[in-house]
């Protein structure tokens, strides 16, 4: 068993990056995720592993530093919160287009605009449906605990390189700020240059005289060429849908009603489930862990066995669209959401379930 520590979610992300063998972190301060870079700067990973940590002049610069580092085959990460991640959308689109591996952590806060610094899940659409321009997706992980904040960093790097794709960890201000115990995985050594070149023969990191030049770009002026790029990307997303779906089912076997929630909302729903079961209402919880690829078949299998589904999100109803597309129209599906940084209480969720689904 690895080292046990009490940590904030943001700190767990930072420590996990060092331990995963990350080569470079590039970020810009924004509440509620500033602890990521603060922790990294204090920890001096450049002494621990040789990892580079750089405070950029903006989120725009940070995401493009990611593009630069990723294009040379390095393991790179950034983190930000909603307004900053909006600024990164252009860069993320370029990362997807140029098929570069990178990890982006979004500690979501309430919007729109400057919004609030309190937690929210209102960036689901932006993360899952593309966000920037063009037809692209990212693999999106939704941690629901500080432990998962740590574990998902490692997973995100693995998948980023396996698929040559940007991967987003979509968390929120509460999980970023809250402290929980976490079992840290052991230090994985950073790859040597030789290992990197072997793993990333496509990377632009200096052309040996034995090969032609490598070019990292998202541009193809020939429509037929650009269509081929798009078809390749779509094939990659289909592979993710086939192989990378992650989810958790809690007490779904005998459930009459189903709660569907991700991240922090799923934590609240777990308590709501206990409250409802204490009242004799048989409730189950389905928690998507990957938001893209969405566990469509899995939620449909459970969803079509129950009398009604309540999708609980800290937004105005975003993931519910994917739940409805997956489950179909035979089962009643309603949404319960709070916005602007308000975290729903378990009691509220039980009440909403009773009123919207059971009583409705």
């Amino acid at each position: 068993m690895g080292e046990l520590k009490l940590m904030k979610g943001n700190e767990a992300v930072a420590e996990a990056a060092i331990r995963a063998g990350c080569d470079g972190y590039f970020g810009y301060p924004i509440t509620p995720q500033s602890e990521v870079m603060e922790y990294l700067m204090a920890e001096k990973p450049f002494e621990r592993t040789g990892m580079v940590v750089l405070q950029a002049e903006s989120e725009v610069a940070a995401i493009n530093m990611l593009y630069g580092g990723a294009g040379t085959g390095k393991m790179v990460m950034t983190s930000s919160s909603s307004p900053g991640v909006s600024l990164m959308q252009e860069g993320i689109s370029y990362l997807a287009g140029a098929e570069l591996p990178a990890v982006i952590v979004n500690i979501v806060r309430g919007g729109p605009g400057l919004g609030t610094i309190q937690p929210s899940q209102a960036d689901y659409f932006q993360a899952v449906k593309g966000g920037g321009h063009g037809d692209y997706k990212m693999l999106v992980l939704a941690p629901a605990s500080v432990q998962e904040m740590c574990d998902h960093v490692k997973l995100a790097f693995d998948k980023a390189f396996e698929y040559r794709t940007p991967v987003m960890i979509l968390s929120d201000g509460a999980i970023g700020q809250m402290m929980e115990k976490v079992v840290l995985f052991d230090q994985i050594p950073r790859r040597t240059d030789e290992e990197l070149i072997k793993q990333c023969p496509w990377a632009s990191n200096g052309r040996p005289k034995t090969r032609n030049h490598n070019i990292i770009t998202s541009l193809d002026l020939d429509p037929a060429g650009q269509e081929r790029v798009n078809l390749k990307l779509q094939a990659k997303y289909q592979m993710m849908e086939k192989n990378e779906v992650l989810y958790e089912e809690i007490q779904c076997e005998d459930a009459d009603y189903l709660l569907v929630a991700f991240g922090l909302s799923a934590r609240i729903c777990q308590k709501a489930l206990d409250l409802a079961r204490a009242k004799g209402i048989k409730v189950g919880l389905f928690r998507p862990i990957t938001l893209f690829p969405f566990p469509a078949i899995e939620v449909s299998n459970v969803g079509n066995r129950v009398k009604g589904i309540l999708v609980v999100e800290m937004n105005a109803g975003q993931m519910i669209e994917d739940v409805k597309l997956s489950v179909g129209c035979k089962v009643k599906i309603e949404h319960y959401g709070r916005f602007g940084g308000i975290i729903p209480s378990p009691d509220e969720v039980v009440k909403a379930l009773t009123q919207k689904i059971i009583g409705g």
């Binding site: 610069a61 493009n64 530093m65 593009y67 630069g68 252009e90 632009s204 990191n205 052309r207 070019i215």
Partner: protein
Amino acid sequence: MEEQFAKTEIHKPENIVYKKSDLMVDRPLSYCPGCGHGTAHRMLMEVIEEMDISDKTIGVSPVGCSVLAYDFLNIDMLGAAHGRAPALATAIKRMWPNHFVFTYQGDGDLAAIGTAETIHACNRGENITIIFINNGIYGMTGGQMAPTTLPGMRSSTSPYGRDVPTMGHPLKITELIAQLPGVYYVTRQAVHTPNNVRKTKKAIRKAFELQKENKGLCFIEIVSNCNSGWKMTPVQSNKWMEENMFPFYVLGDIKVDGKLIEMTK
């Protein structure tokens, strides 16, 4: 037969007095005939070839006319989003500190949309080389006004000439950058005459040598023509450049060995 014989004769190594760099990919350039980009590319590749650092050089191309520079330069390259080349180069150099890293950018890319990335990479003193091609116009998108368009100069978005009260002044970003302590060497050159080409090549060589010594950021502006955008013949455009661009964008060293050169103008 006779003609072919003559050709082989000329191609004999001992008869070759000049040839293009092997680092230039053997394909037609996408630039308009008469444009300075091709010459600038060649000087850059000649320096890298002569220093024998092609296996340790990583280039970043911009968005603009030279967006396809990576197709012509046979070294590892990354195509950046518009204006972001210095951000890419920063990360690349930080993670490959023993490699040579350069950006190649136009005036719209470097001095308008990428101003923040340019200023901050320079101010951090990143050990990279920035090659800045200034032709006072957005060439690729069809000749719109650039941050460096001269007062009164016509473009497709300043069809009656750049009106300074409403459109602002042209930006001498090179002079601005020279003020920053992280910047070690700043020079402004041209590639329209053999003499200027030689000077430009010397400047590029100097910048790469300084990068080897980790002296800080080196910045080379090349004032160039855009005969298509300026709606002139190549010869006219070079004359116009000498008469109009050079008095405003004065050629020569601006900062050497980390010290500003005393300006007479």
